[in-house]
């Protein structure tokens, strides 16, 4: 039986759209479940330990030292703040990492110390468009 071409087009359009909608729902669903929360050091100090989070903070100048196989240092909130969160991290350190820099690190709080997962430390590239106080 010949199918009316307009009808055929409509069926195609509807099925393509439903596939797209299904994919979009999957995308939205997984993104909310796969995302790691971004936290400031002060929030981590106050929050419940043992949940994985992405910590955004600023490394305290002069606090970096070697400890065991890795390094230990302290971070504070990006816009300053007095509460310092101790951090331990094993693994290679990105080039721009040093005191005073903003970092992003995934890990969890154990006994008051933020333990970073190896390979998740990123330092904000200070390269372009640095402000005057940064330079």
């Amino acid at each position: 039986m010949p199918v009316d071409p307009d009808r055929k087009r409509k069926i195609r359009l509807v099925s393509a759209l439903s596939v797209a909608v299904l994919l979009a729902v999957a995308l939205i669903y997984t993104s909310f479940s796969a995302a790691t929360d971004a936290r400031q050091p002060s929030e981590l100090l106050a929050g419940t330990p043992g949940t994985t989070a992405q910590m955004n903070g600023r490394v305290v100048k002069g606090s970096i030292h070697e400890q065991g196989d890795g390094i230990a240092f302290e971070v504070v909130d990006r816009d300053g703040g007095s509460q310092a969160l101790p951090v331990t991290y094993t693994g290679t350190v990105p080039d721009p990492f040093r005191g005073g820099r903003e970092i992003v690190l995934t890990g969890e709080v154990q006994d008051g110390t933020f333990v970073g997962e190896p390979g998740t430390l990123t330092t904000k590239c200070p390269s372009k468009f640095t402000t005057q106080n940064d330079a």
């Binding site: 393509a16 993104s31 796969a34 995302a35 990105p94 005191g99 640095t130």
Partner: protein, 785 residues
């Protein structure tokens, strides 16, 4: 000089308004006004060129009265980086944007100076509107004037940050910017076409070249950025799904979709709404890229501190999106095409699928990139998505894209009978099957289904493309004789767009093979080794032979000599190291400043066709730092003239006391101290050689990663072939009128169909039908003339 620059910039700003005004005043065919507006665009280009020259001269001449020079260069900065330092600043990048735009606008208006009378005035107005926006920003937004001055002029500048000292710094940013900016041209002509309701493919023919140039530039920019990350950043990767990377990838993907779908409009008059939406999307993404780089709304490893121009760019994006959407909606009736896609087995149907995949890919990346903002909106916390989330969605889409990269070139336009399709698919399918069996039997690719699928599809695509070249060359030789390579060259030369495009496809397939192999089969190990120790990584014995130290005027470098032996073979020597840049300026304070400074990894890399061996080192500086602390304490005691310090200290402390009493002595005293500290730092650095402390190494064995760069170069060469002007154009036989252009396009289509027939892609029956259709359409065009 700075005031001259500001004046020229202001003049350029007013010229953009004048050009736009005269263009719009002449929109009803007033030739004189339109000519005047075009010349004003040339003038904008000339003025901005002068501005760039002034800035470059200031950099080369160390004129620290310019704030931009003082903050991004210094006397010691190598000349090469002085020339590139302009675009490492925000104001310099804006100037670069505006300058490249003025060049692109001039080229576009020059190439259309005798045609598209109705459309050009509007396109001029749009391009000049964007140019006015960027020149206006430099003039009126706070802190972004490239001609800001410092008074009195400092003696030296801050210098370019060491991380940016990579040869690709010279071309990577201009490439990306040129890519972003050149998309303005097709966008502007699309807006002109919509406003004047000239919605056939004339705007596409006029700007196709610009879209392709933009696409190629953006691609090169992306590739260079990846290369820089791989060789300079010390983490061994080339892509991190960082917002700024995504911001450049998204317009590139949409631009790829656009370049394909405009062919459907050119040849079949379909997909007009789609193309208009795509170019609006591409241009908005290009602006969004500029915005993301400037605004800091998203957490990125690229920190772009200044927040001064972000809101303005966001405003421009809003205007572009709202205005274009309103325009497209109001022209929907004119955009509707009476034609339908004839068959699902045709090139246009494959292009449609490829477009959906590319747009889907862009949508995924867009969602992931902006997820922190989305999640903050819904849940109140900024949550971000990591690379695995991106990989999960982009991998299958990319794999399907490779498949269609192979299928598209095998099908002819309009329709292909199943019999013809079977004939052209036979060889590529066989090659794909052999590849599948071969990989399953002789490699461990079976454990990685995604990578396996990609290899098989890429084999399909590459063999299909090879078959295209082969059949085309054989058909060509049948027609005109000669040798097979000669026929191949003539074939490509006479059909640059088609075969250039095929070469791009081959390049992308090779590039994706490199990405799939290096991401799925990479060995990545962090090791801690003391000098003399060795360990085995992926069948290779890695030995830390000895530490190395290098002292230069710029930096202290701690490194390692590694030897890597692959089962019994000659060992390869690699020298990864880490550079600590010396503090700049006088009176640096502490010796430890020499070790806390900006550090960069120098990668020890051995590239090979089979696999890359990539190493980086994190020197164990614990002992060195202890000595530094002690030295700092000693030095301080010495300066104070504390009891128990060696007799030489008396001289120093005496100098300090004299300096405290007499300000004129302060500078030489500081200089002496800096010199002594520098000597002490060098001495301590040298002691690292005897330390025997273990260092941390990152060793990566990256299979086939070299093919990623090679694939990129292949794709670029294909784009250049497609861009190369045809012989007629080179001789100056410019297409004069729109109907000439239509006629030429239709003739090209007829030639394409003949080639498809001769090379066996179209069966005799298919060809007879299509040829008759094309000739009828050609006659219609001729009738109209």
């Amino acid at each position: 000089m700075p005031s001259l620059g500001s004046a020229l910039l202001a003049l350029a700003f007013f010229s953009t308004f004048a050009a736009a005004s005269f263009a719009l005043l002449g929109r009803n065919g007033d030739r004189r006004r339109i000519d005047l507006s075009r010349r004003l665009v040339y003038a904008v280009c000339g003025l901005l060129t002068a501005c760039v020259v002034i800035i470059e001269l200031a950099f080369l001449g160390d004129d620290f009265g310019f704030r931009i020079v003082q903050q991004h260069s210094s006397i010691e900065t190598p000349t090469f980086y002085k020339m590139a330092a302009m675009w490492s600043s925000q104001e310099g990048s804006l100037l670069l944007w505006a300058w490249v735009l003025s060049i692109a606008a001039s080229a576009a208006l020059y190439s259309t100076r005798n045609r598209l009378r109705e459309l050009v005035p509007w396109a001029t107005a749009v391009m000049m509107g964007v140019a006015a926006f960027f020149t206006g920003l430099m003039l009126f937004a706070p802190d972004v004037s490239p001609f800001a001055t410092l008074s009195p002029a400092p003696a030296d500048g801050v210098g370019l940050t060491p991380l940016l000292r990579h040869p690709s710094m010279m071309i990577h940013p201009p490439m990306l910017y040129s890519g972003y900016v050149a998309f303005t041209v097709p966008f502007a002509f699309a807006v002109g076409a919509l406003i004047t309701r000239r919605l056939d493919s004339e705007w596409i023919r006029a700007t196709r070249r610009f879209a392709l140039i933009a696409w190629a530039f953006l691609g090169v920019g992306l590739l260079l950025g990846a290369r820089w990350s791989y060789t300079e950043l010390g983490w061994g990767g080339y892509w991190a799904w960082d917002p700024v990377e995504n911001a450049a990838l998204m317009p590139w993907l949409l631009g790829t979709a656009f370049l394909h779908s405009i062919m459907v409009q050119e040849k079949r008059g379909m997909l007009k709404v789609w193309n208009a939406c795509l170019i609006v999307g591409t241009f908005s993404m290009a602006l969004l890229g500029t915005f993301l780089v400037r605004s800091g709304v998203l957490q990125s490893i690229h920190a772009f501190g200044d927040n001064t121009v972000g809101p303005y760019v966001l405003g421009l994006i809003a205007v572009v999106l709202l205005g274009s959407t309103a325009l497209i909606v109001s022209r929907l009736d004119d955009l509707r095409s009476p034609k339908r896609i004839d068959s699902l087995v045709s090139r246009e149907a494959v292009f449609l699928v490829n477009n959906l995949l590319l747009v889907g890919l862009t949508a995924v990346i867009f969602w992931g990139t902006f997820f922190p903002l989305i999640s903050e909106l819904f849940t109140g916390t900024k949550a971000s998505l990591a690379a695995p989330w991106f990989d999960r969605y982009t991998t299958p889409l990319a794999i399907l894209l490779v498949l269609f990269t192979g299928i598209g070139p095998l099908l002819a336009w309009r329709r292909v009978s199943w019999a013809s399709a079977r004939r052209v698919f036979r060889v590529p399918l066989a090659v794909a099957a052999v590849t599948l069996v071969g990989l399953l039997l002789f490699s461990d690719a079976g454990g990685k289904p995604w990578a396996l699928a990609l290899f098989v599809f890429a084999a399909f695509a590459l063999s299909g493309l090879a078959q295209e070249f082969w059949n085309g060359a054989v058909a060509r030789r049948r027609l005109s004789g000669g040798s097979l390579p000669g026929a191949m060259a003539a074939l490509v030369g006479r059909n640059r767009r088609r075969y250039g495009g095929y070469i791009v496809h081959a390049g992308i397939a090779v590039l994706l093979i490199g990405i799939a192999a290096s991401s799925s089969f990479q060995t990545n190990r962090d090791l801690k080794l003391a000098p003399g120790e060795s360990t085995v990584v992926d069948g290779r014995e890695v030995t830390y032979e000895r530490p190395t130290v290098r002292v230069t005027d710029e930096y202290l470098q701690f490194g390692a000599l590694l030897s890597v032996a692959e089962d019994g073979g000659e060992p390869v020597l690699l020298r990864p190291s880490r550079r600590y840049f010396r503090p700049t300026g006088s009176g640096t304070g502490l010796i430890s400043a020499y070790f806390d400074g900006e550090a960069t990894s120098e990668v020890g890399l051995r590239a090979g066709a089979g696999s890359d061996l990539w190493t980086a080192v994190q020197p164990g500086l614990g002992e060195v730092q202890k000595r530094v602390r002690k030295a700092d304490e000693g030095f301080e005691a010495c300066l104070r003239g504390a009891p128990g310090t060696p007799p030489q200290c008396d001289v120093l402390s005496g100098l300090m006391r004299a300096a405290a009493a007499n300000p004129a002595l302060q500078a030489p005293a500081l200089e002496q101290i800096t010199k002594l500290q520098s000597l002490a730092a060098e001495r301590i650095a040298g002691s690292y050689l005897d330390d025997d402390t273990p260092a941390t190494f990152k060793v990566i064995v990256d299979p086939l990663v070299t093919w990623m760069w090679i694939g990129g170069l292949i794709a670029l060469s294909g784009a250049l072939i497609a861009l190369w002007p045809s012989r007629g154009r080179r001789r100056g036989a410019l297409v004069r009128t729109e109907s000439d252009a239509q006629k030429e396009a239709k003739y090209r289509e007829i030639r394409d169909a003949e080639l498809d027939h001769a090379s066996g892609k179209l069966s005799d029956e298919d060809f007879a039908l299509i040829d008759a259709e094309l000739r009828r359409e050609a006659v219609e065009i001729l009738d109209r003339v």
